[in-house]
């Protein structure tokens, strides 16, 4: 069903009780709280729409909640909007029907103090209960981001939630400081010995309050946050941020900049995926494979550094275009070097899939089904490895992607090996896209000045880990009023535990590595 059909169906089902409007491919449905659960459940379960995320917002007079869906296999965005007076804090929870909304509701509960009625599990999410007292609601308007909170009074008798009821069951704690140079996250592995029955990640050790910090900042300073909250995918997030600002300013980005952006985004994807493949090799203890992939990763970083000045493409993407221009020959040679990397990666892949000791540890490990991918709203390569298609570059083509010939690879099995194959396939596609971009680079400017008007804009971009959604509201003073970051890692961490059930302890790093997760991107 495409957007129009969905709109018609909603109209007939809900008897005009839901106000609909379609603006630029976005179907907006304004509904009362009581229609929220049936409407969202219908979209999610009957139409198999993808749930992208929830944005809560405190406006001067009301709470404003936006639920974002994308229709299955069709282009377009469905935005369900509901509002309530500020003194009312109770909203119905859609998580029972739309499981993908689970963490979004928990986040809003934790940071805004909203209550989602019917949600089976609220509290102790972003602000850890063993570190903060109840009643801290940092995303509220009256809470200042400059305040350094004092007077902590955490619950002294905090206990981790355990679901494994078995004689002799215990929790194997992992982290937050663990492994060699892992990102900070804590895992509770519930086990009765070597076999782990369930691995539950406790996140937000790295919560830096980016969404709150952005409030009141200028667009330029907001960009710094967008770029640097998840440095390994900086360009994609800066791109999504810039696109939202561009929407508000009404400026057209010059075609040269659009093509360059595609080039850079794919360079970032290539580099990121090589890092993930390296991580998978090292999680299985394959030293030579790890070293070989690490060489490629470093070379991709050097290409980025030599070409743009920064190894992680910081400071490159700005609203209106790019901060600098590139020489076509330099771009071409960079694309050639990237192709060389792909070629060498292919030979490593051949070696890897002929190494049975390596494959044995990946096959049938950490499997996720397509239905689970949908139900948890998984994103990016993790979802695509289970056959769940969710590539924004294809579904909501942005920038110059429309003009490129590329595939969005898919796998079916959803296990660790499928994810590995997918990462390889995507690197190859990225190489192809970069070649095309270097080839068809149009002449012209690389940036236009960009001054956003007040208002709200949503943009989405396919980061290496999957789709990100940036929703920005600019106030009349030109400052950011609300900045909502929906990241692919947030969705994939939510679904991580389905892959991490009933496994042997030594498989844990492997499952983790094949998910290619970022804690920084999740924790914000």
């Amino acid at each position: 069903m495409n957007i129009q059909e969905i709109a018609a169906e909603i109209q007939s089902r809900w008897n005009n009780e839901i106000k609909l409007s379609t603006i630029a491919g976005t179907l907006e449905c304004r509904c009362h709280r009581e229609h929220l659960v049936p409407l969202c459940g219908w979209l999610f379960n009957r139409l198999n729409c993808h749930f992208a995320g929830l944005t809560a917002e405190e406006l001067p007079d009301r709470w404003n909640l936006d639920y974002l869906f994308t229709p299955a296999g069709e282009s377009g965005i469905i935005r369900i909007n509901t509002a309530a007076p500020l003194k009312e804090r109770n909203f119905p929870s859609i998580s029972i029907a739309v499981h993908a909304a689970d963490w979004h509701e928990r986040e809003a509960e934790d940071l805004f103090g909203l209550t989602f009625e019917g949600h089976p599990r609220l509290g102790d999410f972003i602000l850890h209960d063993d570190a903060w007292q109840e009643g801290v609601e940092p995303m509220r308007e009256n809470f200042s981001a400059a305040d350094v909170l004092s007077g902590r009074n955490p619950k002294p008798d905090w206990r981790p939630r355990r679901i494994l009821k078995a004689p002799g069951a215990f929790i194997m704690p992992v982290g937050p400081v663990f492994s060699g140079e892992a990102e900070s996250v804590h895992f509770q592995l519930e086990t009765i010995g070597e076999e782990v029955l369930r691995a539950f990640p406790r996140l937000f050790f790295k919560y830096r309050g980016v969404e709150k910090l952005a409030e009141g900042r200028s667009v330029d300073n907001g960009l710094l946050l967008a770029e640097r909250f998840a440095g390994s995918t900086a360009f994609s997030h800066a791109l999504a941020f810039s696109m939202a600002i561009e929407k508000l300013s009404g400026e057209e980005v010059p075609p040269r900049a659009e093509v360059l952006r595609v080039f850079m985004a794919e360079l970032e994807r290539l580099r990121h995926h090589l890092g993930v493949i390296e991580g998978i090799c090292s999680s299985t203890g394959l030293a030579v494979g790890t070293g070989q992939c690490a060489i490629l990763e470093e070379e991709a970083l050097r290409i980025s550094g030599a070409l743009t000045g920064h190894r992680y493409l910081f400071g490159l993407c700005i609203p209106g275009g790019l901060s600098r221009d590139f020489d076509k020959t330099a771009l071409k040679s960079a694309a050639e070097r990237a192709t060389d990397i792909v070629r060498r990666m292919n030979s490593i892949e051949k070696l890897l899939i002929n190494t049975s000791s390596f494959l044995d540890r990946l096959e049938e490990v950490g499997a996720v089904t397509e239905k689970q991918a949908h139900d948890f709203g998984l994103a990016g390569p993790v979802a695509r490895a289970s056959g769940y298609s969710c590539d924004t570059r294809k579904q909501l083509p942005y920038g110059a992607y429309r003009n490129f010939d590329f595939d969005s690879p898919h796998e079916r099995e959803g296990d660790g090996y499928a994810r590995l194959r997918l990462f390889f396939a995507e690197v190859r596609e990225s190489g192809r896209i970069m070649e095309q971009a270097a080839e068809k680079l149009p002449p012209g400017k690389t940036a236009v000045p960009c001054n956003p008007d007040a208002g709200t804009a949503i943009s989405t971009a396919e980061t290496p880990r999957g789709a990100t959604w940036h929703r920005i509201r600019i106030g009349t003073d030109g400052k950011i009023k609300r900045y909502r970051l929906i990241t692919p890692s947030f969705a994939n961490w939510h679904g991580f535990h389905i892959a991490a059930e009933n496994f042997a302890f030594q498989d844990f790093p492997i499952i983790l590595a094949t998910f290619g997760l970022s804690v920084a991107e999740n924790d914000r």
Binding site: Y207, G209, F314
Partner: protein
């Protein structure tokens, strides 16, 4: 397996010769803005573009506080008076000279990395120290999973509120003498995040920092330089071999 061995041998040695030889391969470092003189005192456009206050004015001279710079390129791109850029990476500065490792022990140092809220870039660069290109093992640096055996606590990130306790615990678990190395702009002064309601303004807030490595993120070579400094393998002086000069403070 043998094919892997052959593959490894075929690849040959890619490792940098730094610190014996200078390393100038393009793309190994983002570099830093250079100190410039001769800018009219009333022309404050460039410095006002700097979002972190890394550029400070002294009459007609524009100084760089390298620990604040986040390589946003705003002072060099899209402006009338772009600041010249200089390559290099030897930015590390020792804060506590007593922390330098005595000669007998400088070729075996164990490092516990703590991610105190970094964005993933610093951590990736730290991970790359094990990369064949940099291979810090050849200099006797090893990453250890437990702080119990660590000589150096390497901290990245602005110290997010939730990471304070783990960071302190890791520090306490280290055997004396403890050395703390702050890596990246965030760890030095909070970067673009801190200080805020859940972020500090760097590691120095809660731990005595012995050596600082500026950069956002500092490239592997910059971290390696810092490690060599704290290990006493390099002197904190302009390095004759590389010809680069450490930043002014």
């Amino acid at each position: 397996m043998s094919r892997w061995v052959i593959k490894g041998i075929r690849t040959g040695i890619v490792t940098t010769r730094y610190p014996e030889k200078k390393e100038e391969t393009p793309g190994t470092s983002p570099g830093l803005p250079e100190q410039v003189t001769g800018i009219a005192p009333e022309n404050r456009e460039t410095e006002s573009r700097c979002p972190t206050g890394a550029l400070s004015r002294e009459k007609n001279r524009l100084n760089l506080r390298q620990e604040r710079c986040i390589h946003c390129f705003r002072c060099s791109r899209g402006t009338e008076n772009p600041i010249p850029w200089k390559n290099g990476f030897e930015w590390a500065e020792i804060r506590n000279p007593e922390a330098v490792v005595p000669a007998s022990l400088r070729h075996s140092l164990h490092i516990r990395v703590v991610d105190a809220g970094d964005c993933g870039a610093c951590l990736n660069e730290i991970k790359l120290l094990n990369n064949p290109y940099y291979n810090m093992h050849r200099l006797g640096f090893f990453i250890t999973p437990t702080p119990r055996q660590a000589d150096i606590l390497l901290v990245a990130g602005p110290v997010a509120e939730h990471m304070k306790t783990p960071l302190l615990k890791a520090y306490e678990a280290m055997p004396a003498p403890k050395r703390v190395m702050a890596v990246g702009a965030c760890a030095l002064n909070g970067g673009v995040f801190g200080p805020g309601f859940v972020t500090g303004s760097g590691v120095a807030d809660i731990l005595p920092v012995d050596i600082e490595i500026p950069g956002c993120p500092p490239p592997p070579l910059a971290i390696l330089h810092g490690l060599c400094l704290i290990a006493g393998q390099l002197k904190n002086e302009p390095n004759a071999a590389t010809g680069t000069r450490k930043g002014e403070k």
